[in-house]
Amino acid sequence: MNTPDQKWPRLAAAARQAQDARDTAAPYGFATRLAALAMAQERAAISLLERFSLRALGLAALLAMVCVATNYATFAGLFRDDATISPSTDDPVAEIVDLVS
């Protein structure tokens, strides 16, 4: 019997002698079909992105306008000089001192 270590190398050496005579050229129409498929796939991915990003941009702009319209009063108030608020109105300590005295 062979030693176990020799069996696989002998078999592999014999297998390496096998010549693969099969044609390695692309089958007729393979490249054409594949090129069309690859380009179509890429185009679909791009157009999907384009469509979604444009929609998202439009929606974001619309939401921004609605926000400004509904909160117009608040926004306008920010830029007005607002000195009408009394500093003691919301001071609980002052209120307690007032009650005690």
Binding site: A12, F30, A35
Partner: protein
């Protein structure tokens, strides 16, 4: 052909990036021999070689923007081909049992010759030896199978395998060791079974 030195690969890639379909066709035709050799060497059972080649080319086109030219383009494509094949092999979880009864007469003769010192494997039995080797390789884990095939059948170096698979040289050596030990065990099991 991938060996065709007159082919302007850089120019062709540039045109493919500009979405030139004729250039894409030329690129597929140029690389097909390289890809189909890898596919045929690592083709899992019940998978059509043309389907696997198509998957590889589609991956190549999808990832083309990621190719920065750090390695030659055919090498980059080879890596895609090898990893696609290994993914397919991993997907086939069930491995068929290896039995004398499933071997052809020529394959059984080759196995006999290998397991005894009496006869050398005849040159005419190379094809049977090739078939037998693949039946034995089917018994291995996909990663181990890939390593032993690249190492012992395609006679690539550890560094080349490491570069093709992305695995470290130590991992490649571990997988080769594990694969050879499993093959040794298979031969021992076959010795214990009588040839019918």
């Amino acid at each position: 052909m991938a060996e065709d030195e007159s082919f302007d690969l850089a120019g062709c890639l540039e045109r493919v990036r500009r979405r030139d379909q004729a250039a894409a066709r030329a690129l597929v035709d140029h690389l097909y021999p390289l890809v189909i050799r890898i596919v045929r060497a690592h083709l899992p059972r019940r998978v059509a070689e043309e389907d696997l080649a198509q998957d590889i080319f589609l991956k190549m086109f999808t990832r083309l923007e990621q190719y920065k030219g750090a390695v030659p383009f055919p090498h980059w494509v080879s890596r895609i081909a090898v990893t696609t094949c290994i993914d397919q092999l991993r997907a086939q979880k069930r491995r068929p049992e290896f039995r004398w009864a499933d071997l052809s007469e020529n394959e059984a003769d080759v196995l006999d010759a290998v397991m005894t010192n009496e006869n050398d494997v005849e040159a005419g039995d190379a094809l049977a030896a090739h078939e037998l080797v693949h039946k034995l390789l089917d018994q291995l884990k996909p990663d181990d199978r890939l390593v032993i095939q690249l190492l012992d059948l395609e006679q690539k170096t550890i560094a080349e395998i490491s570069s093709l698979t992305g695995w470290s040289p130590s991992l490649v050596k571990v997988r080769a060791f594990r694969a050879r030990r499993k093959l040794q065990k298979l031969f021992q099991e076959l010795e214990q079974k009588e040839r019918p």
